[in-house]
Amino acid sequence: MAEFFSTYLPSWLAQLVTGLIQCVILLHVPLVGAMFFVWVERKAAARIQDRLGPTRVGGMFGWLQLLADGLKLLTKEDLRPQEADAMLFRLAPYVGFCASFTVFLALPFSDGWVVQWLDVGVFFILAVLGLEVFGVILAGWASASKWSLFGAMREAAQVVSYEVPLGMCVVVPVMIAGTMDLVAIGRMQEGLFTNWFIFHDPFTFVIFFVYFTCGIASVNRAPFDLAEAESELVAGFHTEYSGFRWLIFYMAEYGSMFIVSGLAAILFFGGWNGPIPLADLLGLTDANGELAGYLGRFLGMLNFVFKSVLGVTVMIWVRWTVPRLRIDQVMTMCLKYCTPIAAVMFLGATLWTYTFPGGVTGLRGTPYGTVRGVSAQRVELSDLTPATEDAEGAAGEGSDNKPAEEHAGDVAAAAADGEAAAASTPSGPLSIATFASSRARSR
């Protein structure tokens, strides 16, 4: 696109315009997505509770309800408690939203359709997704309200703890793929749905469910929405927020839900590859011209968005079906169940790929060949930086390279270990008890 604009504009302006266009398109994913998901949530919740939900606004199914909701929120007064820390109170929603939005930079929507192609895509997405917690913590702190503060403390404890099992779950498909590049991971699952990583071996099948549980917990959805438990904490961290800033919190939440489901779609469900390679069957590949390739990718994008929306819908379904856990149950779930299960599954998946490199039947094409293709392609572009030279060296090693490839996963595991060391110091419920008593003492 930059080339297209640079025929009309000076090159620096062309780059700028291209970047802005990509940003605006991307910004619509969380914004429009959030509006759509709010509507879906209202309808789904109503159906689960044997109601109808919005029916009037906009005619059929109340599909304009989301617009009415948005207008109502925009016209609400932007309140701020007198005791609040003004700057942090105002900034906090944007911190959360920025983190949630930044993730979309590295999320591929189709084969190669990604704003910034990162070699460490999975790692980057997990890292930035973890930053969203700052919005909540700062909001809770700056509100000068005990409910908000309790919500923020719970959120901090919960998110930091759940990053550990989440990271370990993500490491398994990364280890199988031998790369953290999301585009390469998606490409490896081309073909029939049996190539999806969830059907790779029994361990990945189990770990997907652990991942999804931890994902729900890390984006603070029910049954893990302790930070905004309305039966205990009024509305948790956003008790004092109203109008537009509250809306921003919600958009960040729905954006994160989309990201977690999208990541699941890429890591376990083949990303933009449908259950049957429809685009290939129809001849919509790059081999048949640029337009055909474009259409094939567009089909892939629809596939990916459908899978992600499906994931979000399941989260909504879970929210209105399962009752909320207590904070100690949330912590038990993380530290006593999710983390050990994820660790065992990681070990199992490692042994499995070691024992059956080509799958049980031996028919599965080794995914490593695909990685070779990708990295070799990228090395051809330049062999200047030591980084790409390394990739070339790795590619040059040839057949005995499989164990080497797995190390990328090990590094991520090491990172997760470091995280564990850092995270587990303030053990959740205990710290909150200490905190409560210290607050009580200071009064």
Binding site: P386, G418, P426
Partner: protein, 115 residues
């Protein structure tokens, strides 16, 4: 300004950023009396050092390409990050312990070893 924007940056510019972070960390460590403030100063200092490691690891940032640290610089930076996380965990545990015993986190109050 526009002139500078057209020029490539070198390792020296990264080193300057690292120096500013480092010095900010040092001043933060000397002036804050809150133990957590001191800890934040330490984080800044470690980051300043990390910026230097990364700057020296990239050969494209300097004229003498062959002398760049390459991957070694990045690996050292990773070790710094991991050890800083461990250090923060231990320091925080100590601070919490101190707070439990003394009801304050002021480092000037920690003078029991004077006898």
């Amino acid at each position: 300004m526009m002139q500078f924007l057209a020029q490539p940056v070198g390792a020296a510019h990264y080193l300057l950023v690292g120096a500013v972070l480092f010095v900010c960390g040092v001043i933060c460590m000397t002036t804050k009396r809150n133990a957590l403030g001191v800890l934040m100063g330490i984080e800044l200092v470690l980051n300043g050092a990390n910026v230097n490691f990364i700057a020296f690891s990239q050969p494209a940032l300097r004229a003498d390409r062959g002398l760049a640290l390459g991957l070694d610089g990045q690996v050292v930076a990773i070790f710094v990050i991991v050890l800083a996380a461990a250090e923060a965990a231990v320091a925080l545990a100590i601070v919490l312990n101190f707070y439990n015993n003394h009801g304050t986190v002021d480092v000037d109050e920690a003078d029991e070893l004077k006898g």
